[in-house]
Each structure stands twice: as structure tokens, then as C-alpha cells.
């Protein structure tokens, strides 16, 4: 008798807690439905260029995305990256405490807001760069995955039949990993396109495995050929300036991506024959090098294209005869001895923040102008 009482007790407790939570949960969602109903609103973009008729109550970032306008956002709207800045012209009240850490004083004065934190509660007037109208979401199909090194994969995505993307070399796309394991929501991360812009029906990314990275781990452990995947793009303003100046490119690891796109594009246009180009690629051991054949071929074929690969820790079995040392040391050596610095020079950097800062320091040391050094920093 007593045991059965205890058993009933054991069941009642979770039931009661569950029941109370369910009732409260229902109350919260009913309140949400009633309180957060702002009716039909209009968002005016770039003074009349586009007008969206929307339902109010959700975050601006989400509302825009639902209507096909994609503001760059690396964290997916959690307010942790600060990328989704948008200028809101209409007065929507002071900045929220969740916005202020990401905004400079001038930006606040200029009504720049974090679109993932701002809720659409009234008619909005906003301003965004025109290039964002070009941004679309594509449901691509993975056509090919190639292992370039032990930790970098080349992922070739086919866009849906008949759809095309217009982008400039150096821009990036946001690659979305579906929920897996403990990751409950789709997660987007930005990767530079490595395909040439002329290949309008495809996008290619070089994705390096970052330990603990949500999307990179997904790509390396789960992504298969033939799978459907969401890609949003193009974003970004890293591109080659059309000045004809000597180009000094420095990259490491998957920082190769924009340069692959750039050099292929230059081969198509013929610019590779007329413009002086130095491309430095730094790696640890020979195992971390890839695309060597292609780059060496460019080097041999075109007089003005120079490719320098450097290993910082060459192994005995690598049988390495090229440059050794940190990429910054090699860069400094070439800037001092080989590069003709009487001509205008521009720096193009792509890689980890540490590598970028070190290379910038070297370039400044050789009197390269800061505003002539362009970079694509991996966050």
C-alpha cells in the first residue's frame, strides 16, 4: 500500500511541475500574441527605392530577411557580432543597452542601429547600401568536396538551375549549417568566394576546420556531396582596386580563397599579363600547402606574376627548397630586395587577425601607405 502511494507521488510531482510550466508557457505566448501584435506596417528603404509591407513585432534583421533583404550578420541575430548595422532614419527611440557596446559615438549620432536588436513597432525608414539589394539566399547543392590539406576543404556549390549570382572577387557569402547534435538552430558563417565571378551558377568556398567551430565542424564531419545547403550573398567590400599599382598579396591557410578568385579572374581578363603581382603564401609545413601546381604554373607562364610560398617549420621529409621562415620575415626580405618600390604599391591581406597585423606592421615599415593596404580579417 505504501509503496504504491510512493509511486503515485513520484509521478504526480513531475506532472504538477510540467502542468504549471505548461500553463505559464501558454500564458506567455498568449501575452506575446496580444502584446506583440503591431499590425501591418511599412518599411521604406533608401527613400522609396523599395517598400516592404510587413507584420510588426519581430526584429528588423529577421523582418528584412523574410522579405528577401539580407543584412550581413555573422552570429545570426544573437547580438554578439555587431555586424548587422543599419541606418534607421525615423526616430525609434534611444539605443538599447544591447546595442551600445557595438556602436561608436559617431555611429550613434548617425542613427546607426543593430538590426537584430531593434524591433519593428512602427513604420520604419531605413538606409542600406544599394549592393545589399543584390544579396539573395540560394538553396545550393553541394556538387564537389575536395580535401586540399588535412584541415582545408574546397566546397563547390551549384546554385539552383537558372539562378545566377553577380559578385566581385574578394566578396564573401554566408554558408549555413543546418541544426546538428547540440546546435539547435541553423548557423551561418562567412567565407570568401574562391570561384571566379564568371562562373555565375556556382560558388566555391575554402573552409578550414576550426576546432570547436559550429559550421566548420559541420562541413568537415557531416557535409556530403549532393546535399542541399543555404548560401546567402554576396557581401563585403574587399576587392582589387582598379589602379594598375603593383599588387602585394599575402595569405595564409584558407585566406587563399579570395586570391584564387582574383587570379582566375585576372587570367580571364588578361590583367595578369599587365599588372605586377607578388603573391606570398605562408604555411607551417608542406602538408599545409595547396594549389602549388596551379600557382607555380602562373608564375612560370606570366612574367609579371610572382608566387612565393614560405614554410615556417619545414619538416626533413618535406624536402623543401623554397623560402623558409615566418611569412612576415619573407615578406620583409622581398620588399627590401626584390619588389620594385619606386612604382605605386598596394597591399592585399587575407588571413588570421594575428597574421594580418604582423604583415601590416611590415608593410608600414617599408613605407607603404596605410590607406593602400586592404584586408579581409577572419573574425
Amino acid at each position: 500500500m505504501e509503496t504504491s502511494g510512493a509511486i503515485i507521488q513520484a509521478f504526480i510531482a513531475p506532472l504538477v511541475i510540467g502542468g504549471i510550466s505548461a500553463v505559464l508557457g501558454a500564458l506567455i505566448s498568449i501575452t506575446d500574441k496580444i502584446v506583440n501584435n503591431y499590425g501591418d506596417l511599412v518599411i521604406d528603404i533608401n527613400s522609396g527605392k523599395r517598400e516592404l509591407e510587413i507584420k510588426g513585432g519581430a526584429a528588423l534583421l529577421l523582418t528584412l530577411a523574410e522579405n528577401g533583404i539580407f543584412i550581413p550578420s555573422a552570429c545570426g541575430g544573437r547580438g554578439s557580432c555587431g555586424a548587422c548595422k543599419v541606418k534607421v532614419v525615423s526616430d525609434i527611440g534611444p539605443h538599447l543597452p544591447t546595442e551600445t557596446p557595438f556602436l561608436a559615438k559617431e555611429e550613434m549620432a548617425d542613427n546607426i542601429r543593430l538590426s537584430c536588436q531593434v524591433k519593428v513597432k512602427e513604420n520604419f525608414q531605413i538606409e542600406i547600401p544599394d549592393s545589399l539589394f543584390n544579396v539573395k539566399q540560394y538553396e545550393g547543392t553541394i556538387e564537389r568536396i575536395v580535401n586540399l590539406t588535412h584541415d582545408i576543404k574546397e566546397v563547390y556549390v551549384k546554385l539552383p538551375e537558372g539562378e545566377e549570382i553577380d559578385f566581385v572577387c574578394g566578396q564573401y557569402g554566408q554558408f549555413e549549417a543546418p541544426p546538428y547534435n547540440k546546435i539547435k538552430t541553423p548557423t551561418q558563417r562567412a567565407y570568401s568566394m574562391s570561384s571566379a565571378p564568371s562562373d555565375k551558377n556556382h560558388l566555391e568556398f575554402l573552409i578550414r576546420l576550426v576546432p570547436g567551430g559550429i559550421v566548420t565542424t559541420y562541413v568537415h564531419e557531416r557535409l556530403t556531396e549532393g546535399q542541399k545547403i543555404n548560401v546567402v550573398g554576396p557581401f563585403g567590400d574587399f576587392n582589387v582596386k582598379d589602379t594598375g599599382a603593383t599588387m602585394i598579396g599575402v595569405a595564409g591557410g584558407s585566406g587563399m580563397a579570395p586570391f584564387k578568385s582574383i587570379f582566375n579572374h585576372m587570367t580571364d581578363t588578361g590583367e595578369i599579363q599587365t599588372r605586377e603581382i607578388w603573391y606570398f603564401f605562408g604555411a607551417r609545413t608542406k602538408d599545409d600547402l595547396f594549389y602549388l601546381d596551379w600557382l607555380n604554373e602562373l608564375d612560370a607562364k606570366y612574367e609579371k606574376f610572382h608566387f612565393v610560398a614560405a614554410l615556417s617549420e619545414p619538416q626533413p621529409e618535406d624536402d623543401w627548397e623554397g623560402e623558409t621562415g615566418l611569412i612576415t620575415e619573407v615578406l620583409a626580405r622581398y620588399l627590401a630586395e626584390r619588389v620594385d618600390r619606386t612604382q605605386p604599391v598596394e597591399g592585399y591581406l587575407c588571413g588570421s587577425p594575428g597574421m594580418l597585423d604582423a604583415c601590416m606592421a611590415v608593410m608600414r615599415q617599408f613605407d607603404m601607405r596605410e590607406d593602400k593596404i586592404y584586408f579581409d580579417k577572419f573574425a
Binding site: Q9, I12, A13, V16, I17, I20, S21, L24, G25, L27, I28, T31, D32, V35, N36, G93, P94, L96, P97, K119
Partner: protein, 196 residues
Amino acid sequence: MTPVISPFSLFFASIFTGNILLANFLGMCSFISISKDLRSSNGLGFAVTVVLTVTTGVNWAVLQLLTALGLVYLRYIVFIIVIAAVVQMLEMIIDRVSQSLYMSLGIFLPLITVNCAILGVSLFMEIRDYSFWQSVVFGFGSGLGWWLSIMALSAIRKKLDKAPVPAGLKGPGITVITIGFMAMAFIGFSGMLQVQ
């Protein structure tokens, strides 16, 4: 057994003689951190009062249910769930009704969920066997008491900003000493009326 104290006396008792902050030292964390600023103190005091009144009433009803089912030992968990849900709803409503209040409360509103004064009042309500009206009045009074104390402390701290406080005691140090004096001052009321 329900105590005989009238809701009216209980109301004043919970504000002055049994002040939740100064007699029971509950809800200290936000008391110390927010009292730096008078405006935020006012907003938080208001929010605490509303949350206390509503949650104590709701928790009283929930407690009757738990008692009937013989599950009183679950009260801690259930009280916290109720508090969290009420704060959540209150946040949505304030966001809709008054943007300026929402802005001034900001992050403090969700933080009320973990304010121990809120759970403390619900637990006192249970220990002392209050009736429904006693509970609501006790919650409301405790909220006003909390509001009063944080406004008083905040005003004192404004004066202290200009006072020659020794470097080692600046900030939290002198604040805690001040709270001690305030608590002693409030003990003066305790002879008049006892919360029970």
C-alpha cells in the same frame, strides 16, 4: 494557522518594521549595484513592487494547489518558475505600453527574476500561513519597503559622492556601512508593530 494581523497593519509592518531589505537583508545585490543612480533606482523599485505584488498573489494560489496535492516540498522550484514567467510577461507588457520605462529599466527587469527578495517574500508567505489578502498586501508592502530603501540609499550615495571617503572604502565599502546605519535606524520602528 492564519495569523490574526490585519492586512492594514501588515502593510505598514512590511514597509517599516519588517523591511525586506533592512530587516531581512534580502535583495542585496541589485540594491547595492543599482543604487548608484537615482533614476534607475526609482524604475527598479517600481518594477520590484509590481513583480512582488503579482508573484506573491499567484504563488499563494499555486501553494494551495501544492498543499492539496501534498507536494509542498516542490514550492521552491514552482515559485521560481512562476516568478520567471511573471517577469517575462511583465517585460513584454512594459515594452508595449511604455517605451521610456522599458528603456530605463533595461537589463534590470529580467534580473528581477533572480532577486532573492522576490523568492523570500513568497517563502515568508508560506511559512507564516498568510491568507490571500494578507499575502498580496505583504507582497505589495514589501515592494514599497524595498523601493523606499533603495531610494533612500541612492539619495545618500549621491551625497556620499562629494564626501571625503577614505580611498579603501569608496564604492561598495562605504555603501555597506551606510546600509548598516540605515538598518539600525529602521530597528527604531520595530517596537511599534511586529510582522508575524
